[in-house]
């Protein structure tokens, strides 16, 4: 966590000093005989590269993996102009031979099988090769070795640029980034301006994080610091050009996309994104893919382009939680969606799903009538008209939660922030929360003027509405937190909102104080058990329990419930699926961008549930509970229901 904080601060400082850093690196490189070109946009960058290649009478080029050259469409442009440009990264070479585009920023050919690789090298390169990965790699090494040795120019990207020394830092595992620029007489590095850091200390704060987040390595195989121009043994100097690309980056330093410039292209957000992992980069993205792709497409091609796929984000928040430079991806994606929605207007399903609390309140005027109507045959045909999937059921309501315990002193009372499900649909969760709190020796007080947490507003890009809701809840909860009370939740999304979202969308010392004084009730139970203040009853030793930890819980803390259930004597099977696919209310929407995608994302969880067989199923999230019921026909309970605290 400390490393992430440091890397985040370093990147922020560098981005805020970008104009100065551009000047510094230009001076560093040019004073040593190298050259720096600043390209305003993709067209400008391509033209500058072509002009350099032409002026050096170069036709044969080797290129190492570079998303920036993908961003500016360099390969196609050069090929159309008669240059031979060869991608030397094994995955990128396969993608190039297929005439395809990278599916992932770290693993560009992740969508190809070994047979695809073999076929491409056979058909496009005339190689005799089987589909054995070892053999394919050997053949690729040999074919590409000839390209390296005959290259007249090398093009690379840059993972970092060190302003003080004019150094290009490249990290590769294959070694192509190290080999390519060592042979020809011309070396061009094409990099976005945001890659510049001040010095080696800045670079060191990022390098280990990059390797760990990208591939789980302590360090990438080759971390190469080239301080050009490089010189041959006979004194001949290699020509070096750094083409620095703006393409929207400098204007992004001044708008809501600024935090995205901290991105170090590790791909961690892609690897954790549930929808990206189902759909891949060709659907979820353009040049840049997945969660970071929404941000970087906004920077380089505009928000409208990003909104062509931003709806594939289901706001699980896992991307923000794994980002090594602490980019609040989920919140920025909400902002991107918000701009799209302002242009196209709100869809009927979005209007409905962001009015859940209002509808709940209305339904609770007569729960019997609502429950009869919503479970009747009339409900199903109405759902699609409202943009909802008919395979989902409208939720029944109960008399809304109004009162739990009296307010006592701050050390004996917990403040309950319920969100809508426990308040209107399943107050049994609140009753169990009260029981467990009482067993812990606390009152559970329910301030009735609280409103919903507001997650659907963020999911559908209604950031202003989410801010209004945040302000209301912050104002209310601050009254208690300021007096020393702690806030507890039973719904992981509510904790995610209090801890991660409110401080960002409504920044204030009050929001920060609430964030650091908000807990899942389970975590307080675990704390009390671990400190020896109480223990847990073991009513059914050995009984089988399947526990699913929701994405919003994973995004904020290590879930306490799996451990609590084990301490209660249950034999726990914990799901390793990071997201059930419902994405709040996402899975309620009809069609591919709703129910169907949510079921694809949830498939692995459903299979795990089915192979679990008979036993108790539990999850602390209401939407996961609905999804497990719809996808695997398993009824679940809240884990608090299975716990009994003994003093």
């Amino acid at each position: 966590m400390v490393q992430r904080r440091i890397a985040s601060v370093v990147k922020e400082e560098c981005i805020s000093a970008l104009p100065t850093l551009i000047e510094t690196i230009t001076n560093s490189i040019e004073s040593r005989g190298g050259h720096v070109k600043l390209a305003k946009n993709a067209d400008d960058a391509r033209e500058q590269v072509v002009a350099l290649l032409r002026s050096h009478h170069v036709r044969r080029i080797v290129k190492s993996k570079s998303m920036t050259t993908e961003e500016i469409g360099l390969d196609d442009y050069l090929e159309r102009d008669g240059f031979e440009i060869v991608s030397t990264d094994l995955g990128e070479r396969a993608v190039q031979l297929a005439g395809d585009k990278p599916a992932h920023i770290v693993a560009p050919a992740i969508h190809f099988t070994r047979e695809d690789f073999a076929r491409l090298f056979r058909e496009k390169e005339g190689a005799q090769v089987s589909s054995d990965p070892e053999e394919i790699t050997k053949v690729a090494r040999s074919l590409l070795r000839a390209k390296f040795l005959g290259a007249e120019a090398a093009i690379s990207g840059a993972n970092l640029l060190i302003a003080e020394t004019g150094t290009v830092v490249l990290v590769t595992n294959e070694g192509n980034g190290r080999l390519g620029p060592s042979i020809p007489g011309l070396y061009i590095s094409v990099a976005g301006v945001e890659k510049i850091v001040r010095n080696t200390s800045d670079a060191s704060s990022i390098l280990e994080l990059l390797a760990r987040s990208a591939t789980g390595q302590s360090l990438t195989v080759y971390t190469t610091f080239t301080s050009p121009p490089q010189v041959a043994a006979d004194g001949h100097r290699q020509e070096f050009y750094l083409v620095l690309i703006d393409n929207g980056r400098l204007s992004a330093t001044k708008n809501f996309l600024a935090p995205a410039l901290k991105c170090i292209r590790c791909g961690a957000c892609l690897n954790t994104c549930p929808t990206f992992n189902c759909l891949g980069g060709h659907v979820f993205g353009d040049i840049y893919t997945g969660p970071m792709g929404v941000l970087w497409t906004s920077i380089t091609q505009g928000v409208d382009k990003a909104n062509e796929f931003s709806d594939l984000c289901i706001s699980c928040g896992l991307c923000s939680s794994v980002c090594p430079t602490e980019i609040p991806l989920a919140e920025i994606i909400s902002d991107v969606k918000s701009r799209g929605m302002n242009r196209r207007g709100r869809r009927i399903s979005e209007k409905l799903l962001t009015s859940v609390e209002k509808l709940d309140r209305a339904a609770c005027l007569s729960p019997r009538l609502w429950n009869k109507l919503s479970s009747s045959s009339l409900a199903s045909p109405v759902m699609p008209i409202l943009g909802l999937d008919r395979r989902r059921r409208a939720l029944g309501v109960a008399h809304p939660l109004k009162f739990l315990d009296n307010l006592g002193a701050p050390d004996t009372t917990l403040i309950y922030f319920s969100d809508v499900f426990a308040r209107y649909h399943n107050p049994a969760i609140a009753i169990h929360a009260k029981r467990v709190s009482n067993e812990l020796g606390h009152n559970l007080y329910f301030p009735t003027s609280q409103v919903e947490a507001g997650m659907p507003y963020l999911s559908y890009g209604m950031v202003q509405s989410a801010r209004r809701i945040a302000k209301k809840n912050i104002e209310l909860l601050w009254e208690y937190v300021n007096l020393g009370y702690r806030v507890v939740v039973t719904e992981p999304t509510a904790l995610y909102i209090l801890r991660e979202v409110y401080p960002r969308i409504s920044p204030s010392k009050e929001a920060d104080a609430i964030a650091s004084n908000s807990y899942s009730l389970g975590s307080l139970v675990l704390e009390a058990v671990e400190s020896g203040k109480c223990k847990l009853d073991k009513p059914s030793v050995g009984a089988k329990v399947f526990y699913h930890s929701p994405c919003h819980a994973r995004a904020v803390e290590k879930t306490p419930y799996s451990q609590l259930l084990e301490l209660s004597g249950y034999t726990v099977t914990e799901s390793d699926v990071t997201c059930c696919g419902m994405g709040g209310t996402f899975g309620y929407k009809k069609g591919a961008l709703g129910y169907e995608l949510s079921m694809v994302v949830g498939k692995e969880l459903f299979e795990q549930l089915k192979s679990f067989g008979e036993g108790i199923v539990t999850t602390d999230s209401s939407v996961c509970s609905i999804q497990m019921s719809d996808g695997a026909q398993k009824t679940s309970v809240h884990p608090l229901q299975l716990l009994k605290v003994l003093q």
Partner: protein
Amino acid sequence: MSHQSLHFAEFAEKCKELGVELVTGKEKTISQKLTSQVQRSEFVIFAGLPPAISDRFFALSGNKCREANKANLSTIASAQTCITYSTDLIAGSGSAVIVTNTLEERQATSLAPELIVFCRNPKVHHNVSDFLAAGRARLSPGTTLTIVSGPSRTADIEQILIKGVHGPKIVSVYVEEGAEN
């Protein structure tokens, strides 16, 4: 146990994990092992070795070796083994720091299927940040500093790890102890 010894023990562990052969010993032992290594290779290229060491290795290897700075690209590319030099190792990542001052030295250390990194009483750093903070990273114009952490590798084909793509498939680190640098 000194910090250096602890770091070296960690380095040795990491080498095992990465599949890097680590050979340690006094001058005589290292010379014997290097000689047998070199004799298995048809042609050896030296890159960035201090002259005294380079002379010693020439004596061991006879006509089977060449200095990268005195060879052309096709000669360099034909070498089976490259022997290079390092003064700094990094424990946490099992890395050796290689500094090349010419394009030929960089080519030699990249192209050979087998890379031997020779060190004499190296400084072993805890991690890459410590190495960079120690002020031992030479980033002067024309130089290339590479932190090498094991054999070249890829997982591009169905995420299966394969060693030896564009760089060396075999990496060994020879640490000569007790000699003066």
